[in-house]
């Protein structure tokens, strides 16, 4: 094992955390050992259900009460945290061990100013005068790069952006200069450009203070960006650990190799000159504005989507790329008529005479919410065709075919959504869309909620069904790597506006718009991948 010259800040030895009865395995975490030293960033990487978050919660003593007592030892500074009293843990948390979480909105209290929330750490652990505390809070806010700390001190969480909120949490976690920072997916909920800034911030602070960082992530790109050492976890066990460069370039375990291989690269996967079918969709100057009530009686116009035009051909996949608030989902909803556009229209050439709902289908992002939990997946799939007069027997027969087509056992049609995994549910959603025999498929972040290995499978499925049914696909995503895998052309959106359009190769090789360049530069692990 890799030996560090400095003594470990945290040393986890044979940690086993039993799962409550009825779980899918006996232990959430099983016989896990690793350590992190001062001045070192250790990444714990794994897919959902790997036990990485449970490990972090156990260190902090924040386990849900349903879990039984863990065995093993967590040595922090010569002290076993598993044996520490709740009072002792309270004293350690914040002062010696800082923690930041995934969701910066919910981790902050909406009814207190952010200054007061950072200040709370000082009030809890130290006895300082209000003036001293204010000075320290402002200094901490400056250190994490928050602009104008004197003003921001008095603002509320909802007035800040996601990235700023995460900076506030980092400031609160680091104000007492802990020896160890635990970061549980701190950038997962953030846009890619913001993520790049936050990662750099964590790296800089860690260097200047020489603290140990335990960084939990599912993203191999983030690992490449930030980690000194990597621990790969799967199903509660450590499958591999070592120095980042050697793990990324020469992984030993099959699982690690699969995890790295599943990360889409930025190279365009499709041929440069796709064989294009007839025109499937023409969108002309479609736009959406909302009237938001502001103050008493007055309304304010918010432009969600500026006039946007695009065309889509059969057999072609067009990616719409942008960060949150860029208007890409609004565009998808206007085209699918889930919301009414304020201006402009989406036209499909006449031909089959089928109604819009049969010709254009959508696959949603969240596989856990896009299927009605109270209906069997069979009922969900046959609902659409039956709405248009197909008999139940015929629709059911079609559903059986489609289940096999998306790689699921047709006998499972009688099951309920909660009996399937996320990737399987996304396959069911695709089957539901295909049951309508559409010409156009709109995929709204359809693979964003999935683990990378599952993501790769679902992308392949989408690719297969496109060839089979000669579908035109509008693929909405925030992830450039995914777009490179599946798209022929991409459109880049920024603040409700289409800023760049072109083939994947052209846009990635020579982005013309400033924002596209920034997006490309922010992809985690890009430099590492280029030099490796």
């Amino acid at each position: 094992m890799y030996m560090n010259a400095l003594p470990p800040v945290i040393d986890i030895r044979n940690l086993t955390v039993p799962l409550p009865l009825g779980g899918d395995r006996r232990n959430a975490v099983e016989d896990v050992s690793f350590s992190a030293s001062q001045g070192e960033i250790v990444c714990v990487v794994g897919e959902s259900g790997s036990g990485k978050s449970v490990t972090a919660q156990t260190i902090m003593g924040l386990m849900p009460k349903t879990f039984a007592r863990p065995s093993g030892a967590i040595m922090f500074n010569g002290e076993d945290l598993l044996q520490a009293s709740p009072q002792r843990m309270r004293a350690l948390r914040g002062a010696e061990i800082g923690m930041i979480f995934q969701e910066p909105m919910t981790a902050l209290n909406p009814v207190h100013t952010i200054g007061a929330q950072i200040d709370e750490v000082l009030r809890t652990h130290l006895s300082l005068s209000p003036a001293e505390r204010f000075a320290r809070v402002v200094k901490a806010m400056e250190e994490v790069g928050l602009p104008d700390p004197h003003r921001l001190y008095h603002t509320y969480p909802h007035q800040l952006s996601g990235g700023q909120r995460q900076r506030v949490l980092i400031a609160a976690a680091l104000i007492l200069e802990p020896r160890l920072l635990i970061a549980d997916e701190p950038t997962t909920a953030l846009d890619v450009t913001t993520q790049a800034q936050i990662l750099k911030q964590i790296r800089d602070l860690q260097r200047s203070r020489g603290m140990g960082v335990l960084f939990i992530t599912h993203d191999i790109g983030v690992v490449a960006e930030i980690a000194d050492r990597v621990i790969v976890m799967k199903s509660g066990k450590v499958v591999e650990s070592g120095i980042t460069s050697s793990i990324l370039t020469a992984p030993e375990a099959d699982y690690t190799r699969m995890l790295i291989a599943a990360v889409p690269t930025l190279e365009a996967a499709r041929p440069p000159e796709p064989a294009l079918g007839p025109l499937a969709l023409t969108v002309k100057d479609i736009a959406k504005t909302y009237n938001v009530r502001s103050g008493i009686g007055g309304t304010r116009e918010v432009v969600a989507l500026k006039p946007t035009s695009l065309t889509l051909r059969r057999g072609e996949t067009v990616g719409v790329i942008g960060e949150s608030g860029s208007g890409k989902s609004t565009l998808a909803r206007c085209i699918t008529r889930l919301i009414e556009p304020t201006a402009g229209e989406a036209q499909m050439p006449d031909g089959s005479g089928k109604p819009l709902r049969r010709r254009l289908q959508i696959v949603f992002q969240d596989p856990y919410r896009s299927l009605n939990p109270r209906r069997t997946v069979g009922q969900s799939i046959i609902e659409g065709p039956m709405n248009f007069g197909v008999s139940k027997a015929a629709a059911w027969e079609k559903a059986r075919e489609l289940m096999a087509l998306v790689g699921l056992d047709p006998a499972a049609l009688n099951r309920y959504p909660h009996q399937f995994s996320g990737g399987q549910r996304q396959r069911i959603s695709i089957a539901r869309a295909l049951a309508m025999e559409p010409e156009i498929l709109v995929a709204d972040e359809a693979v964003s909620a999935l683990d990378v290995s599952v993501q790769a499978q679902v992308l392949k499925l989408i690719d297969d069904v496109q060839k089979r049914f000669n579908l035109a696909i509008l693929f909405i995503t925030h992830d450039l790597r995914v777009a490179a895998q599946i798209c022929d052309r991409i459109l880049v959106m920024h603040r409700g506006e289409l800023v760049e359009e072109g083939s994947v190769r052209a846009v990635f090789a020579s982005p013309s718009h400033d924002y596209t360049r920034r997006l490309l530069d922010s992809i985690p692990g890009r430099q590492a991948a280029a030099t490796a």
Partner: protein, 293 residues
């Protein structure tokens, strides 16, 4: 391509509703409350088989007799058998309680679905509901009784109207959250007509909270009916009801306290049973409902 089998959460396809119900049945409050309610319901249904006599037969020779083999709970001022009147009184209470709950929920669900789903209707409907909510139950009952005459129907109408807005508010709040769910949008995009979306995809989410609210409405209707009868604006005096019995027994409280205590005991037991059942259902079906109400 190999076919993937779903993760098995059990060998059989299990509906989430089925899981919830089997969970609820194991809750102690549900078990105790449910048993009490079941016992009262059986008592009401099987009243003629439980050794009762005609609860309204007057026997002037048997006035205010103590409990005996002939009359287990004794007799009242008019010589009527108190035991028979208590047993038959359960019928009046349950009929009023259940009818009010079912009627209020039926109207409330219809109005709530419309108000929650069609945003243009919302403001109008909810202001009307606010108006209804402002009507005091007792005043409405007294007004209705003096306009028509005391009857079961009048009492039910008087108790139902102020309950409807509570159901509407609950249903509307559920609809407002569920209508944003992606599975509702998915149903729209596969062309499901709006009425079907409401019935198939949105209404099922209201069932669990409505079971809980319905039990509270039922319990409170039974209590208010007794109070109205006690005041003389409820059920007509010829119908044996617990409220009427308490009211009539009041004047002879010092001579024969059982005339008040016995119907009160059954009234309290019934309301307690229904409330326990409701609390237990609330705790197992949806812990968040408590806040919403």
């Amino acid at each position: 391509m190999t076919l993937l089998s779903p993760q098995l959460a059990g060998d059989e396809p299990r509906s989430p509703i089925f899981d919830l119900i089997s969970q609820a049945v194991r809750n102690p409050s549900v078990m105790i409350g449910g048993s009490i309610v079941a016992a009262i319901v059986i008592m009401a249904l099987a009243a003629p088989l439980l050794g009762t006599v005609d609860p309204v037969r007057i026997d002037p020779g048997m006035r205010l007799k103590l409990p005996s083999d002939l009359a287990w709970f004794g007799t009242d001022l008019f010589g009527r058998d108190v035991y028979s009147r208590v047993v038959y009184g359960a019928r009046s209470s349950l009929i009023v309680g259940l009818t009010v709950a079912v009627t209020a929920i039926t109207f409330g669900v219809l109005i709530g679905l419309v108000a929650g789903y069609f945003r243009s209707m919302d403001i109008v409907v909810m202001r009307v509901m606010d108006g209804l909510m402002a009507i005091p139950t007792f005043l409405l009952a007294i007004a209705l009784v003096s306009l028509t005459r005391a009857s079961v129907g009048t009492v039910i109408v008087a108790l139902t109207i102020p309950e409807i807005p509570r159901v509407v508010r609950l249903v509307r709040s559920v609809v407002l959250t569920v209508r944003e769910e992606p599975y509702v949008e998915a149903a729209i995009s596969i062309g499901t007509p709006t009425p079907l979306i409401l019935v198939r995809h949105i209404m099922p989410s209201t069932i669990a909270p409505l079971l809980v609210l319905g039990s509270y409405i039922c319990a409170s209707a039974i209590l208010v009916e007794a109070a109205l009868s006690f005041l003389g604006t409820g059920l007509p005096p010829e119908i044996p009801s617990w409220g009427n019995m308490i009211s009539e027994g009041r004047t002879f409280f010092q001579v024969a306290p059982r005339l008040v205590f016995l119907p009160s005991l059954f009234l309290a037991l019934t309301v307690l049973g229904i409330n326990l059942l409701g609390d237990g259902l609330r705790d197992t079906l949806d812990p968040r409902i408590a806040k919403r109400m």
